[in-house]
Symmetry: C2
Subunit: 125 residues, 2 copies
């Protein structure tokens, strides 16, 4: 069911290169639909990520993050300011191949997050 709310959430997410939290998405959606509720945002983010239209990122920090880029890619997170960016890097075929059988698990995928200090914070430090 493509409701107005769901469409707006999806559109707003697609405008961004970044990885907003649920409440950031709520603020963006609210500019277009002032009566939308935070609960609706959470519900739709869940549904959209279940059906693969967006990606839910469970990276470090207390809040989950979301992005509209579904292709496999990696992230860097800044230790200092917490900002998160995509990593431009050829796919790590080494890992992709190495994980076929790990600990006798059936491996479905992996999550790779880099941790470091972003250029901005490097300057300030």
């Amino acid at each position: 069911m493509m409701t107005r709310q769901r469409r707006v959430i999806l559109e707003e997410l697609r405008k961004l290169e970044s990885h907003p939290t649920a409440d950031e998405i709520y603020e963006m959606a609210r500019r277009r639909l002032p009566r939308i509720s935070l609960g609706t945002v959470y519900r739709n983010l869940e549904i959209l990520s279940e059906c693969g239209m967006i990606r839910k990122l469970e990276l470090g920090g207390t809040q989950k993050r979301f992005d509209s880029m579904v292709r496999n890619h990696y992230h860097v997170r800044c230790l200092r300011c917490g900002c998160i960016e995509d990593v431009s890097m050829e796919p790590l075929t080494t890992i992709e191949n190495a994980i076929r059988r790990v600990n006798d698990y059936e491996i479905i995928g992996f999550r790779l997050e880099f941790i470091g200090v972003c250029p901005q914070c490097k300057k300030e430090a």
Copy 2:
């Protein structure tokens, strides 16, 4: 300050190969110190991981996990039951080298988590 509480938490954590949550550690500690509080457990886990004596894992799921193994290693998480295990696998020198400069960040480390289905759950499925 090595209090009785802090020592017990550390000892209990070192007994395990697994990656317990704060409340699991609380239960373990409580068998030896019945009056210990959950707040104390959280405070000590924070302090111990800050000074590098244990490791705080911010993997998927809602709860943080902790382990006493400080050397760099990776994890597998089961999609179905949520259990988490260490991965026995030679260090991925490919990544270790590849990450020296990513997106102009100063890279300090990375977090790698595999996702799959554990042997137990494979049987049940």
